[in-house]
Every structure is written in structure tokens, then in C-alpha cells.
């Protein structure tokens, strides 16, 4: 379902401030994607957690390369 990003703007801003100040290694897009997944799936916790897991797995695969 399309999601109006403006609706979670304040929420994202709070997370972005924390990320930028303390955890700059984490891309802001990842946090934004997790927030949107959680927002859209508040009525379906399983789906929310599956998407979150997949997003983090993808990020870690790109960030931590196998030797």
C-alpha cells in the first residue's frame, strides 16, 4: 500500500538525529525502510518482523563481506 512518508516524518527525524550523532555507520535509508515496514504492518506483526529481518540481512551482506 502506498505510504505517505510525511506522516512519519517526525518519527524518522528523531531516529535520524540519533543515527547521525551516534551510529553514522548505519545508513539512514535502512532505518527509514524499517520504520516504513513497521508502520505499514502494525496490524501484521509477523510480516513486519520478516521484512525487518530481510532488510538487516541485506544490509549486513553488503557491509560485511565474506573472506
Amino acid at each position: 500500500m502506498p505510504m505517505n512518508k510525511i506522516e512519519v516524518e517526525e518519527l524518522l527525524k528523531v531516529l535520524e538525529d540519533i543515527r547521525a550523532a551516534k551510529y553514522p555507520e548505519i545508513p539512514s535509508e535502512l532505518i527509514q525502510s524499517i520504520v516504513l515496514a513497521e508502520f505499514e504492518n502494525q496490524d501484521n506483526r509477523t510480516e513486519g518482523s520478516i521484512i525487518t529481518r530481510r532488510l538487516i540481512d541485506d544490509f549486513l551482506r553488503q557491509s560485511v563481506h565474506e573472506g
Binding site: M1, P2, M3, N4, E7, V8, E10, L11, V14, L15, D17, I18, R19, K22, Y23, E25, I26, L30, I31, I34, V35, E38, F39, E40, Q42, D43, N44, R45, G48, S49, T52, R53, I56, D57, F59, L60, S63, V64, H65, E66, G67
Partner: protein, 670 residues
């Protein structure tokens, strides 16, 4: 944001046939006017029914849907009802249809099972699957936050519970506030990232176990992680059970309240029966007094004539008696004069009288004897007759019973009215009681309810204690794990361990962003809600010295006076409403979920200043505001002037019959 475009109701409640309310697509306010019994609250509940498929009465109890179809439509052979709500959300047009209709093959329903409920949602022109319908409805207006969108003014009072510690209602409202403000997005994010972190931590442990250098340490960590997993699962189970028990407690309390309500009704019925019996006895007494008074009433009726005759007789008697008395006095005086003349000495002045004066006295005595001759024998006879008549008439002067009868009749009328009032109240109480079923069975049910509630409260205590113990064990294991992991990180040098550790580090960072974000977002929200609620409150309040609101951890808002000091104590019901409206407005301003505000009769406890100020701020509460009000709840013309161009539409609920209300565009709109 969500916006309602139109609502069509068909044979629902008092709304017979198919009737539509069109809302404007512009920001602003819509008024729906309607007197008591015309269906304002039903209309509010129809919105709720459209979105959630439930219909609640004022006490929050779900109503049997079969009762909701229009009575006249039923008698015309149309059973069931339908609602179509058209709305826009995120640039898309949705049409939600919810229908309560007869099952195929049923033509004349006799039981609930003869009906079925259907729902479908169209997005544009496509009909969505039931899963997608369910999902979209939960996203655009979750039931947990409905209280901020669709509310009955009478229920605003419950917001004061937010200022109380350990209030179940307050806790529920707080949960709803956090829902509307989007806090669960973060808490769910924190939970899900924690699960991912745990998985990568376990992977790291498995890597450590597969490495000879760290095998032993890895096994210790694995053991602790397994224990941690077990405790986490147990904690989760306890929490779920606790949530269920709290829900059960809430249901039992609601049942208990219902029982209390029934008990109160029974007490009221008894009191009314006693009152009616006592008043009927009083009425009997009055009827008896009236009967007795009426017996002698004829005497009162001739009293006036008797008085007239008596008055004439008394006048005649007086003339004759005066004449008789004058003669007696004159006789006495003449006797004295004669004695003085014969003795030539006056006894009154003790002086001798000379002869010349004696002569004058004798002449005078002679003349006077002629003047005071007294009553003639006829007059004496007449006087005696008149005196007897007067005495007789005096016995007939019976006081009038008219005034006494009037008093009795007034008292009789008053007590008859009181009896009628009490009997009407008694009838209403009995009807209310009948809704609760067999009174005899209720007593057993009440006892069971109390027993179940006591057991439930005990179980909640045990679950809370179990939760506390599990949390303690989890904290201990986590502390041990942190120590072992630190040791492992120092010891492990292999490539795979470095990668595994890095993955865990990054996962921790992601999780921390969400975990730290929860408090930061809450604090951020609270200060914004506090500021926006204060802005609204100051605009609504009729007391210029109340200058700000202060938010607490539960989102309760305390009022502060310009002189500072403690918050304003013992707020009036009116101010509770004002604070609640300010909070709702502030929540809408700060919530990721935005939508229309539909409120029913929110002015009941407010003075004219508050009413007018609320009208002024209505457009600030939400982009779309629908106000259901009874005629004269607010000054209609003044409200129109106050809102100006912000007032977009007006409808009036007009009575056709007792069971048929028409929704008509208001003709008075200029």
C-alpha cells in the same frame, strides 16, 4: 490523511430508505443538527459500524445488530440495513460498504442467524480482497485510536483519569495516545531488531564454538543463550497471559459495573415502589378529608346570606337596645336630681342648693321625664324577638369550606402528579431491568462475577510476580553473557569471528537507534503535545489567568495559573472537557495518523464563553470536523458567523415519524 467524502445509510436506525450526507473535500467544519431522539448518536455510531463492524451504545456495550434495522422498513418488508462510506486516503478513493442482510432463502427473519454481515472495500474501481480490506481499515483508522476520531462529548470526562496513577482507564487512554502518535512503530521496530540481534549473536556463538581457540567459551555462551531464550520465551508467555488476564479483568469489571447498575436499578425500583405506596396513602387521606369537608359544605354556601340578615338584625337590635339603655341612664340621673332637690343638697359636689336653683331643677326634671320615656311595649316585644332571631342566626354562621377544599384539592393534584411521575420512572426502571434478563438469575450471576474477579486479580498478581522474577533472571544472564562475550571478543582473532562480531556490532547499533528512539520520540512528542494543547487550551479557556498546561508521563494535562505554584486542583467538569478537547486537538496535530474528527454533543457541560471559543478552534482540531449538536446546544447563527468560511456544510435531522428521521441539507445556511 483520511477524509470522509460521503456517507450513505439505508434503513439503519431511524434513517429509513437510502439517505446520503456529502462532506466537502475542502478543509472545514460540517454541522449536523438534530434534537433528542432524532439519531445524532446513532449517526456517530454508524461511522463506527462502517469502519469496525460493531455498534456500541453509550455504555460501550456492543448492540445486537438485528435491533438496528429501521422499524418502519421492517414493517414494509425490508429487513437489515446498509452503510456506504466513501473516503480518500493517500490520494486514493475508497468506498467501504457494510451490509447486514438476510441470508439467501430467508424472507421473514425470526432469529439472528437469519442475517449475515458482508463487507467490501473498493479502491478506485477495484474490489479488494477481504485480507486487504481488513489491512487497509486497520491502517487508516485502527480501532485502538477511534476514541480520538469518533467521540461522544459525554465521555470526555474520562480523560481526567490520565492524571491519576494506577488508573485502568487512564492506562487504556495512554495506550491509545501512544498508538495514535505512532510509538508502536518504534517499539515494534525495537522488538524486531532485538530478535535479529539475537539471531546474529547466536550465529557468533556458533562460530566461536566451531573454533578450537574459543570452543569452551562459545559453549558457555551457547548454554547461557539457550537459558536466555527459555527465560525470554517464558517472559513472553507470562506477558501474553497477563494481557489476557487484564482483558478478562476489564470484562469482569464491566460485568460487575453492569451488576452494580442492576443493583442500583433494583434499589431504585424498591424506593419508587415505596414512594408510590406512601403517596397513594397520602392521596387516600386527602380524598377522605375532602369527602368530610364536602359533607358540611352546604352550611358554608348559606353563610353569606346568614351574615347579611344577621347584620340587619344586629343593627335593629342595637337601635332598640341603645334606646333602652339611654332611658335607664336618664332614670338614674333624674332619680339623683330629684333626691338633690328634695334634700336641697347635691351629693355629687357636696354643696347646698339655694331655692332659686331648686325651682330651675324641678322645671328641668319635668321636661326630661317627657324626653326619656324608654321603649314602648311594642318596641320591647320587638327587641326580645330580634334578640332571639339574632342568637339563632349566630348559630348558623358556619365558616366557608371553600378555602379548605381548595387547599386539599391543590395537595391532591400535587400528589397525583408525583404518583404519575414516580409510576413513569418505575416503568422506565422496570423496562431497563427487563433488558438484563431474569432478576432471580442475576443474583447468582453477580456472585459468580465477584468470585471470578477475585480469582482474576490473584492470577494477575502471580503473573506480575512471575514476570518480575523472569526479568531479574534475564538481567543476570545478560550480565554474564556480556562478560563472556567481552572475553570472547578479546580471545577470538579468526576472520569468521571478526565478521560475526562485526555483524553483531552493526545489529546492536540498529537496535540501539530504535531503543533510544523510543524515549527520545516520546519526550519530543510530549513537549509538542504539551505546547499545542496549551495553545488550544488558552484559546478555549474562559479564565485568562490559566496560562499553560503541563503534561505528565501518562499524557495527562495539568492546568497552571499565571502565578505559578501547584497545578489547579479540583477542576470542574467543564474544564475537564476543555482540557480533553485541547489534548485531542494536539494529538491530531502531532499524529502520523490523521483523519476526521466527528463529535457528538460536546457542549453539554460548557458555559457560553467556552462554547463560543470551542467553535472558534474547531477548524484547528482537524482538517475535517463534523459536529453533531442538538438545536440550541449552541447558538446556530452565532456559530455560523464565528466559523465564517470554515463552515462548509450543514444538515438537519428532521422528524418524519417517531421511527423515521430524514437527513436534510439545512435550509438556513446562507
Amino acid at each position: 490523511m483520511l477524509r470522509f467524502i460521503s456517507l450513505t445509510v439505508e434503513d439503519f436506525g431511524p434513517f429509513k430508505g437510502s439517505q446520503t450526507i456529502d462532506f466537502t473535500s475542502d478543509d472545514g467544519v460540517t454541522f449536523i443538527w438534530g434534537n433528542n431522539g432524532r439519531g445524532k448518536t446513532t449517526l456517530l455510531n454508524i461511522f463506527r459500524y462502517a469502519i469496525y463492524g460493531k455498534f456500541q451504545n453509550r455504555r460501550g456495550t456492543n448492540v445486537n445488530l438485528t435491533m438496528l434495522s429501521n422499524r418502519e422498513s421492517r414493517s414494509e418488508g425490508r429487513y437489515g440495513f446498509k452503510v456506504v462510506l466513501r473516503m480518500s486516503y493517500d490520494g486514493e478513493i475508497y468506498e467501504l460498504t457494510r451490509q447486514f442482510k438476510l441470508r439467501t432463502g430467508v424472507s421473514r427473519p425470526t432469529k439472528n442467524d437469519d442475517y449475515e454481515q458482508t463487507v467490501y472495500l473498493k479502491k478506485g474501481t477495484a474490489i479488494l480482497s477481504s485480507e486487504d480490506t481488513d489491512h487497509i481499515l486497520k491502517i487508516i483508522m485502527p480501532e485502538q485510536v477511534a476514541r480520538f476520531f469518533l467521540f461522544d462529548g459525554e465521555l470526555l470526562q474520562e480523560y481526567e483519569e490520565l492524571l491519576m496513577e494506577d488508573s485502568d482507564t487512564g492506562a487504556q487512554i495512554k495506550k491509545s495516545i501512544e498508538e495514535i502518535l505512532g510509538v508502536p512503530v518504534l517499539t515494534n521496530g525495537a522488538t524486531d531488531t532485538a530478535a535479529v540481534l539475537e539471531a546474529y549473536t547466536n550465529a557468533k556463538t556458533r562460530t566461536a564454538q566451531s573454533n578450537k581457540q574459543t570452543e569452551q567459551l562459545g559453549s558457555q555462551i551457547a548454554t547461557l543463550e539457550a537459558a536466555l531464550q527459555g527465560h525470554n520465551a517464558e517472559l513472553e508467555r507470562l506477558r501474553e497471559e497477563l494481557t489476557q488476564e487484564l482483558g478478562r479483568k476489564s470484562e469482569l469489571e464491566s460485568e460487575q459495573n453492569q451488576n452494580e447498575h442492576v443493583k442500583a436499578l433494583l434499589a431504585e425500583m424498591k424506593a419508587l415502589e415505596n414512594s408510590i405506596a406512601e403517596k397513594k396513602a397520602r392521596r387516600e387521606g386527602l380524598l377522605s378529608d375532602i369527602k368530610n369537608t364536602t359533607k358540611d359544605a352546604w352550611k358554608g354556601l348559606i353563610g353569606f346570606r346568614v351574615n347579611e340578615i344577621l347584620s340587619d338584625v344586629e343593627a335593629e337590635v342595637k337601635v332598640l337596645e341603645d334606646k333602652e339603655n339611654s332611658q335607664k341612664v336618664a332614670q338614674h340621673f333624674l332619680k339623683e336630681m330629684k333626691e338633690a332637690a328634695s334634700r336641697k343638697h347635691c351629693n355629687l359636689c357636696d354643696q347646698d342648693i339655694d331655692d332659686a336653683l331648686i325651682l330651675k331643677m324641678e322645671e328641668r326634671i319635668k321636661a326630661l321625664e317627657g324626653n326619656y320615656g324608654g321603649l314602648t311595649p311594642e318596641e320591647s316585644g320587638k327587641l326580645r324577638t330580634l334578640q332571639i332571631r339574632k342568637a339563632t342566626l349566630e348559630t348558623m354562621r358556619y365558616p366557608s369550606s371553600k378555602e379548605r377544599l381548595e387547599i386539599y384539592e391543590r395537595q391532591l393534584a400535587a400528589v397525583t402528579v408525583e404518583i404519575s411521575d414516580d409510576e413513569r420512572k418505575l416503568k422506565a426502571v422496570k423496562e431497563e431491568l427487563e433488558k438484563h434478563g431474569d432478576i432471580e438469575e442475576l443474583s447468582t450471576s453477580m456472585q459468580n462475577c465477584v468470585k471470578n474477579l477475585i480469582n482474576c486479580l490473584k492470577k494477575i498478581d502471580n503473573l506480575k510476580e512471575g514476570e518480575r522474577q523472569e526479568a531479574e533472571q534475564i538481567a543476570n544472564i545478560r550480565s554474564s553473557l556480556a562478560t563472556l562475550n567481552a572475553k570472547l571478543d578479546k580471545t577470538a582473532t579468526g576472520e569468521d569471528m571478526v565478521r560475526a562480531r562485526r555483524r553483531v556490532e552493526l545489529c546492536e547499533m540498529i537496535h540501539n537507534i530504535f531503543e533510544e528512539g523510543i524515549d527520545a520520540y516520546r519526550n519530543n512528542l510530549k513537549s509538542r503535545v504539551e505546547k499545542d494543547a496549551t495553545d488550544l487550551f488558552v484559546r478555549i479557556s474562559n479564565d485568562p489567568d490559566y496560562v499553560r498546561l503541563e503534561i505528565n508521563d501518562n499524557y495527562g494535562l495539568a492546568i497552571y495559573h499565571k502565578d505559578g505554584g501547584d497545578p489547579v486542583p479540583l477542576r470542574s467538569a467543564g474544564f475537564e472537557h476543555v482540557v480533553a478537547l485541547a489534548l485531542i486537538g494536539a494529538l491530531h496535530k502531532n499524529a502520523p495518523l490523521r483523519g476526521p474528527v466527528i463529535m457528538d454533543s460536546p457542549f453539554g457541560r460548557l458555559d457560553p464563553t467556552h462554547k463560543e471559543n470551542i467553535i472558534k478552534v474547531l477548524p484547528s482540531l482537524s482538517e475535517q470536523v463534523v459536529l453533531l449538536a442538538y438545536t440550541h446546544e449552541i447558538d446556530e447563527q452565532r456559530a455560523r458567523e464565528t466559523l465564517g468560511s470554515s463552515l462548509k456544510k450543514e444538515y438537519r435531522l428532521t422528524r418524519q415519524t417517531s421511527f423515521y428521521t430524514r437527513i436534510e441539507p439545512n435550509q438556513e445556511v446562507k
